[in-house]
Amino acid sequence: MAKNTTTQGKAAAGSRQAKIQAARKSGGSGGANKIVVATVVLVVAIIAVVAGVVWTQASQKNAITGGGNALPPGVTALGAGFPAFPDVTPAPGAPTLDLYEDFQCPACKAFEDQLGSTIEDLAKAGKVKVVYHVKNFLDDNLRNDWSTKAANAAFCAADAGKFQEFHDQAYAHQPSEGEGFTDAQLKSFAQAAGISGAALTTWQQCYDAGKYVDYVNSVETKSFKDGVRGTPTVKLNGKELDLQQVGTPELFTQAIQNATK
């Protein structure tokens, strides 16, 4: 290169120019054939995107399933919420409170820490009908399956009449986001919820079988279709509450009273 004289340089540049012009005329005979390369790249790109979508869909189908049409006690259909506190007879005109939660959602824990006991007191007094819609969408984002497993475990506890107790244990001991629960931890929640002996064996069988996994998946799908885009979502008589406006036990109790007919 350094030996290039001015004349040689000009000649080189001239032939380069000619090559470019030739390439322009013939569509790329100067270097690699641009049309051929473009076709190859385009085909590879399309295959990559299509294969990506197909692969993703296949991996989505491998998500854990189980239980088929099994419904937790009191639930009327797949996708429907779980009516908590089955032993309480609600007062006439008591409003319905729909809670949409995911056991791995930190904002749900914050909500439970703030208002959980208030809701529980109101529900036990028959002043509000609480319906839980336990979601599992965070599994996908956190790339684990602990939302589903914890939800399944909670409904297995519901079989023993201990849903609320299990639910409270799970939020009280929620791991930091992404870490997930452990099988042993979920079992310890069941025990702390008051399940023991033969009932614990039944709980374990239910948990291992994933009895309510399909039900939880159905709730996830149904609630998203119903417009629930995040957790926690709280609906009072079907109307979404702005949690910033009912953020204290007093304000929340007031909102329940206002909704009572």
Partner: protein, 170 residues
């Protein structure tokens, strides 16, 4: 060394006289947009439900279609980003990438205008957030800066160290 050749060529071929610095700016624009696209794409791979929901949360397309867009988008971003990093077919890829960014800006703007409270899901995540947690201006500004890089390459696809130059010589 090659300076003499360049000077000579600059005499005969006027467009080559453009400062080398423009080629470097082009390279930086290519790497910036390319790396951003690859990173944004990989952040969404393996989280299919989240990716679908992120697109569905914009409430522009029917749910089913939005779901497929959500599944395809990560791979489209990776392909576009990889081609930009390689500098292969810089202009067509830059055009598609710019239009993609413009589409994102439109999507975010309409969500903002309609009062939806969503995260853009640009780098994974997405979906509804609290009304106080939306970041629409920042998200639009960020995507606009990506679009600017794309526009540069649309206007001037010639860049330093591009596969285009190796393969096609221009």
């Amino acid at each position: 060394m090659s300076t003499s050749v360049d000077e000579v060529r600059a005499d005969t071929i006027p467009w080559y006289r453009r400062p080398r610095v423009l080629d470097v700016v082009g390279l930086l624009a290519r790497l910036f947009l390319g790396i951003v696209l690859v990173v944004a794409g990989f952040a969404k791979v393996g989280r299919p439900l989240t990716a679908q929901r992120a697109v569905q949360a914009y409430e522009i397309m029917p749910m089913g279609l939005a779901g497929y867009v959500g599944l395809a988008l990560p791979f489209l971003e990776i392909v576009l980003g990889a081609l930009l990093v390689l500098g292969l077919f810089t202009r067509p890829v830059a055009i598609v990438s710019t239009l993609l960014m413009v589409a994102f800006v439109i999507g975010i703007s309409q969500a903002w205008a309609r009062g939806l409270t969503i995260d853009c899901g640009c780098f994974g995540g997405g979906g509804q957030v609290g009304a106080a947690d939306t970041k629409y201006p920042q998200e639009i500004a960020r995507d606009a800066s990506f679009a600017a890089a794309g526009l540069w390459l649309w206007w001037r696809p010639r860049t330093l160290a591009a596969l285009d130059r190796v393969l096609f010589g221009h």
